[in-house]
């Protein structure tokens, strides 16, 4: 089950090789609470290559979500470098980050985060709207990706009219619709029962087989077992990083 830890040799001033989708170099994130400083992430350096399926694990408070928010360009680091798809994003401004989130990143959240008043189809179209895709192309792409996650017959349903597993499929469709370089999921099965969780993980596996690069945060070993690599965090540091044989 255990493979080799991935080698990280990168120095400031280097440019990552093209097959490296994600590269962090001494990435850190400090929170200042009054006079106290919480070091949620300490000099984390790691590389994720194209078509890797990575699970990030670790106890509560170890910095998983902090790392995910940085990788997803929702947050900016207090130190270090972050390269996404050969672009140094750790120094971009707000509007440029919005564009990166739109084009390069697909998010799947634990709480789905669908717009409750919109149909599932419209939810899936949202990233394309902000990308400026015209209505006809938008509709076609959204329909195609809805069918890919097995929701071809639920396009006009509102989120409240769907089961938890179906909602998460809508969220996955939304994350995929703009062909992102990386799919990021923060505990995507945290609100689902174990059977549905397995179904969702099978969707991820299918996407991985089709070439998608995926990073999933999870607490659960059997969820992490779907991944091809596991990174364990502890107190803001990488404790373990290894590739795995898949267990079915």
């Amino acid at each position: 089950m255990t493979g080799q830890p991935q080698a990280v040799d990168f120095r400031t001033g280097d440019i990552p090789t093209p097959d490296v989708i994600i590269l962090t170099h001494k990435l850190s994130r400090d929170y200042h609470l009054g006079s106290e400083v919480v070091r949620a992430l300490r000099d984390v350096s790691l590389q994720i290559r194209r078509n890797e399926f990575t699970a990030i694990m670790g106890p509560s408070g170890s910095g998983k979500s902090t790392l995910m928010n940085l990788l997803g360009c929702l947050d900016t680091p207090t130190g270090g470098e972050y390269w996404l798809n050969s672009q140094k994003v750790s120094e971009l401004d707000d509007d440029e980050l919005a564009r990166i989130r739109n084009k390069e990143i697909g998010f799947v959240f634990q709480t789905f985060n669908l717009l409750p008043r919109a149909t599932s189809l419209h939810n899936v179209e949202l990233p394309l709207i902000y990308a400026g895709v015209k209505a006809k192309a938008r509709h076609e792409r959204a329909v195609a990706v809805m069918e890919r996650v097995g929701l071809g017959d639920r396009m006009q349903h509102k989120p409240t009219e769907l089961s938890g597993g179906q909602r998460q499929r809508v969220a996955i469709a939304r994350a995929l619709v703009n062909n992102p370089s990386i799919l990021l999921a923060d505990e995507p099965t945290g609100n689902l029962d174990s059977h549905t969780s397995q179904e969702i993980m099978e969707v991820f596996e299918g996407l991985h087989e089709a070439g998608q690069t995926i990073v999933v945060i999870t607490h659960e070993r059997d969820i992490a077992a779907h991944a091809t690599r596991q990174i364990h965090l502890l107190d803001g540091l990488v404790e373990q990083d290894f590739t795995t044989e898949k267990t079915a």
Partner: protein, 403 residues
């Protein structure tokens, strides 16, 4: 694309909170409605004054005899203004279109067996045109009638009534003024009472006929002067002053013994007053519009708080700050403009109702409607800006965590 989404979301949000949107809009409706009604009232009053000025003629000056002064002391008798003065003005005046002398007295008038006392006005053939009278029946006398001192009379619209007779039937009949028989050749159209005097209750006769056959004097009551153009009022006045001073032999430095009055002067004062009145009304109404705007701001702040999570999701999916800002701004402006449209309809309805029920003159001008509409949009932008900015600056992570 994006603009479609922004408009759609704005409408969705307004429709999703129908009652709240309605109550918020009500503030704008009342504000815009009040402004429209108040401005309509003011504009109506102004229009009424303007019409009165038009009726009096904006290009008319009146010359009256004044007091004569001898060594700085006012003499007892009023200096006369004579037909010679009128001739001199006609000859030497500057920028004048018509000079119409008026010689008038109240006279005993007899028609059949009826007797009335009425104002008889000896004047020239220009009188109806200069004073904006139309001819109802028959015709006006001519300068030829004047020169040959014919005994012809034109009746004011109200005179047949005073004589309790049918007007049209009187044409060609005899009427006696101070015992002298006149032939009735025309009747003037109605002009309507103007305050103290009734211009329809008078009888016109040719100037020379009146001067020599009826009154036996050349002392005029006044000379009305029509200038070539309203703008040449001032040069015309200076010209008249010069001619009359010369005619009356007034020494340089001595005061005039006549007065020149611009007929519309007192009405322009009235016009200014109604204008002030309009601004005042509109100002008061604008305060209620301001209150409506604050209501919009309040509800937009609530809306931003309620939709914090939605803002977070949109940002995570690639919405920029300006996308989010525009989203909320459009919502505020849409609310305001909907309120503005309803307010304009309500305000116009109010103005019409006031005109019907109270008989007040109201005019809903297109300018007022356009200004009110644009202003309601501006209110939306002004009061929507701050909540929209707050939404756009939300931190995506915190927004996503918001319950």
């Amino acid at each position: 694309m994006l603009s479609g989404e922004i408009l759609q979301v704005a409408f969705q949000s307004i429709v999703a909170n129908k009652l709240r949107s309605f109550l918020t809009m009500l503030g704008i409706v009342i504000g815009v409605g009040a402004v429209i009604t108040m401005v309509a009232l003011g504009t109506g009053a102004q229009r009424a004054v303007e019409e009165q000025i038009q009726r009096l003629g904006t290009d008319l000056l009146s010359v009256y005899a004044g007091q004569s002064f001898r060594r700085g002391v006012a003499s007892q008798d009023r200096v006369s203004l004579t037909t010679d003065d009128a001739d001199a003005l006609r000859r030497d005046g500057y920028a004048l279109k018509a000079v119409v002398p008026e010689l008038s007295r109240n006279q005993q008038v007899k028609y059949g067996n009826r007797n009335i006392n009425v104002n008889v006005l000896a004047t020239t053939a220009d009188y109806p045109e200069v004073n904006n009278y139309d001819i109802e029946a028959g015709s006006m006398f001519t300068y030829g009638d004047d020169d040959s001192r014919r005994r012809v009379a034109v009746l004011g619209y109200g005179v047949p009534d005073m004589l309790e007779t049918n007007g049209a039937a009187m044409i060609g009949q005899q009427i006696s003024i101070r015992g002298i028989p006149f032939e009735i050749i025309g009747i003037l159209a109605e002009k309507g009472a103007q305050g103290f005097s009734n211009p329809d209750e008078q009888i016109l006769v040719p100037l020379k006929t009146g001067q020599f056959r009826v009154f036996g004097t050349d002392r005029l009551r006044s000379i009305n002067v029509q200038v070539l153009h309203p703008d040449s009022m001032n040069v015309a006045m200076i010209g008249i002053e010069r001619v009359l001073r010369r005619e009356h032999g007034i020494q340089p430095g001595a005061p005039n013994d006549f007065q020149i009055r611009n007929r519309t002067e007192f009405l322009s004062t009235a016009q200014e007053t109604t204008q002030t009145f309009t601004f005042l009304l509109a100002g008061i109404a604008a305060v209620s519009l301001l209150v409506g705007g604050i209501g919009i701001m309040n509800i937009m702040l609530v809306s931003v708080t309620e939709r914090t999570r939605e803002i977070g999701v949109r940002k995570a999916l690639g919405a920029t700050r300006s996308n989010i800002m525009l989203q909320f701004l459009v919502e505020a402006v849409t609310l305001c403009m909907l309120g503005g449209i309803v307010g304009i309809l309500a305000g116009a309805g109010g103005a019409v109702a006031l005109a019907k029920l109270q008989g007040w003159a109201t005019v809903v001008s297109p300018q007022a409607v356009v200004v009110a509409f644009v202003f309601s949009a501006v209110i939306g932008i002004f009061f929507g800006l701050w909540p929209a900015r707050r939404a756009s600056l939300l931190d995506p992570i915190e927004a996503l965590r918001h319950e």
